[in-house]
């Protein structure tokens, strides 16, 4: 049907009024319809669930006590139990107390990093004296693999909350600072000159010209940094903690407790997805003039 012969009447592809065969559009030009879009989006999710269900059923048929791939039903029940049953000893509900512990660490680490990124990024990007002082230093700092610092952090800050928050800060703050600095440096020179001809001081330029224009970028960059923040959080919790999502999955790993690990992984993924969505919606709502960091028309 794709042959390049002359006009072929009556084929499945049909013919145009001038007799030329109306070809199928190129793949890059073919858009899925509304229903098609939903189906295509659902496809990989359904596929994974299906594959898991089959694999789990096969294993369980062989050995009903196999711990590795619990059935989806078992996992659902387990999730419900984790999310509703109080611990007899402490009275806490495991999933929620772990989630609270982890989110406080994550929130503090990412929040402090974002604030540092904003403040240090703006002054290094805008003020030549600070740029000279900090820019090369920051480049070197960002080369240090944060996980290699973890033992040092534990030694210096102890195994409490501080060291975990510090790891997240070491992990994502340099990236945020440099990203914001670059964003400030990319502001058109004309804008900064224009602001000065309107009588703006350095402080006013920061407050009214630079800050509002890099705020959406900060949200964007924070969104991108969240992935590594989770990584550092779970790494720190895996090594030294008494509660937390990462602590829990590494704790129960010893008992091959997939009934806990898998719901936790799904839960962490859901949380990460929710934060990502939240930041994206926030960016769109708060900064209607911002168009994904592209230059203004």
């Amino acid at each position: 049907m794709m042959s390049r012969g002359g006009p072929v009447r009556g084929t499945a592809t049909g013919t145009g009024p001038d007799g030329e065969r109306t070809r199928m559009k190129r793949l890059i030009n073919r858009q899925p319809g509304r229903v098609g879009s939903v189906l295509l989006t659902a496809l990989p999710f359904v596929g994974v669930l299906l594959a898991y269900g089959i694999a789990s059923a096969l294993r369980l048929a062989e050995n009903p006590n196999d711990p590795l791939l619990p059935s989806l039903l078992t996992l659902g029940e387990s999730f419900l139990r984790l999310a509703t049953e109080e611990n007899r000893r402490t009275g806490d509900i495991l999933l929620w107390s772990d989630t609270a512990a982890s989110l406080i660490r994550l929130g503090l680490g990412v929040g402090i990093s974002a604030l540092m990124g904003l403040i240090i990024g703006i002054v290094t990007g805008l003020i030549p004296v600070v740029h000279r002082t900090l820019s090369p230093f920051l480049v070197v700092l960002s080369m240090i693999p944060p996980l290699a610092l973890l033992p040092i952090l534990f030694i210096v800050f102890g195994v409490g909350e501080l060291s975990k928050v510090m790891l997240i800060i070491f992990g994502v703050a340099p990236f945020l600072i440099r990203d914001l600095q670059q964003r400030v440096e990319q502001l058109p020179r004309e804008q900064l000159i224009k602001a000065q001809t309107l009588g703006a001081s350095t402080w006013q330029i920061i407050l009214r010209v630079v800050l509002p224009q890099v705020m959406p970028r900060l949200l964007d960059a924070t969104r991108l940094a969240l992935g590594s923040a989770w990584l550092f959080l779970i790494a720190a919790e895996a090594i030294a903690a008494t509660e937390g999502l990462g602590y829990r999955i590494f704790l129960v790993r010893r008992y091959l407790d997939m009934e806990t690990i898998l719901p936790y992984v799904v839960w962490i993924t859901l949380l990460a997805f929710a934060f990502d969505l939240l930041l994206r919606v926030l960016t769109r709502r708060l900064f209607p003039w911002y168009r994904g960091g592209r230059a203004p028309a």
């Binding site: 224009k194 602001a195 001809t197 309107l198 703006a200 009214r208 203004p296």
Partner: protein
């Protein structure tokens, strides 16, 4: 009477590259100076000297007899070809910004009655440039011509002594450019500003200015292209330009033959 702007044997070089050499110039208050010259010959550099964004390598620039401030300030407004407005502020916000900077040193924002005053003043300015219908739009929602109108309003609301324009209409369609010419002449007549306007359109330079400056490199050293800078090769009071001068300039700065040949009578002559 001291000149509004006085260039006293000004040189500008970057490293070994001389861009401008020995610029001597006196401009009276209220003149409309248009600047033409081949691309890359140093017109923007000349404007940056006037802005205070760059310092002369040699010589002095005086403004009303005093040394020009070494950084940009509200006495010299500017409009660039692009990026002159703040994309995160509305049209009204862009014009109010200049008023707010002056009145609110710490927050850069006005509140209450002071804000309403600033808003009214900004709105009047926007009416004067024909943007009264777009007060709450963001610059990205405006056409190129409207963005330049906004940039002009934003500069003029500060009541600068000098207005610097770097190819402000260079990116606009010819029809819109005509409207902009009418606008800028009208504003210039009403405010008595001193205007420096760079253009690559020689006809525009002749039509708008009361005085035309031509920047050109007179000497070339093929072994050291940066050895010599541009100078002011023509400095013509407009209104009585003869055809031959126009032709000479046209060939000197390399405007193609197809460009309109005869300068129109500038609109100031009858005024």
């Amino acid at each position: 009477m001291t000149a509004a702007i006085h260039f006293d044997k000004v040189w500008k070089s970057y490293g070994h590259d001389v861009v401008l050499e020995r610029i001597d110039l006196q401009v009276k208050a209220g003149e409309f100076v248009t600047v033409v010259g081949a691309s890359g010959c140093g017109k923007t550099t000349f404007l940056r000297l006037l802005l205070g964004e760059e310092a002369p390598s040699r010589g002095h620039i005086l403004m009303d007899g005093r040394p020009l401030p070494a950084e940009p300030g509200p006495d010299r407004g500017v409009v660039f070809q692009r990026y002159s407005v703040f994309p995160h502020m509305t049209v009204l916000g862009n014009v109010m910004a200049g008023l707010e900077f002056a009145a609110a040193p710490f927050t850069g924002r006005l509140l209450g009655r002071a804000r309403r005053h600033a808003r009214d003043e900004a709105r009047d300015m926007l009416c004067a440039v024909g943007l009264e219908g777009a007060l709450d739009k963001y610059p990205a929602e405006l056409s190129g011509g409207m963005q330049q109108r906004l940039a002009i309003a934003q500069a003029l609301v500060k009541r600068p002594r000098v207005l610097l324009l770097d190819e402000p209409f260079g990116a606009l369609d010819p029809g819109i450019r005509k409207d902009m010419h009418a606008l800028i002449l009208d504003l210039w007549r009403r405010t008595g500003l001193t205007v420096f306007m760079i253009t690559h359109d020689l006809k525009e330079g002749f039509y708008l200015g009361t005085r035309l400056l031509v920047f050109d490199k007179l000497r070339h050293d093929p072994h050291a292209p940066g050895a010599y800078g541009a100078r002011i090769t023509y400095d013509i009071p407009l209104g009585q330009t003869d055809r031959q001068v126009y032709e000479d300039i046209r060939t000197a700065i390399g405007v193609p033959e197809s460009a309109p040949l005869s300068p129109q009578t500038p609109p100031h002559t009858e005024a």
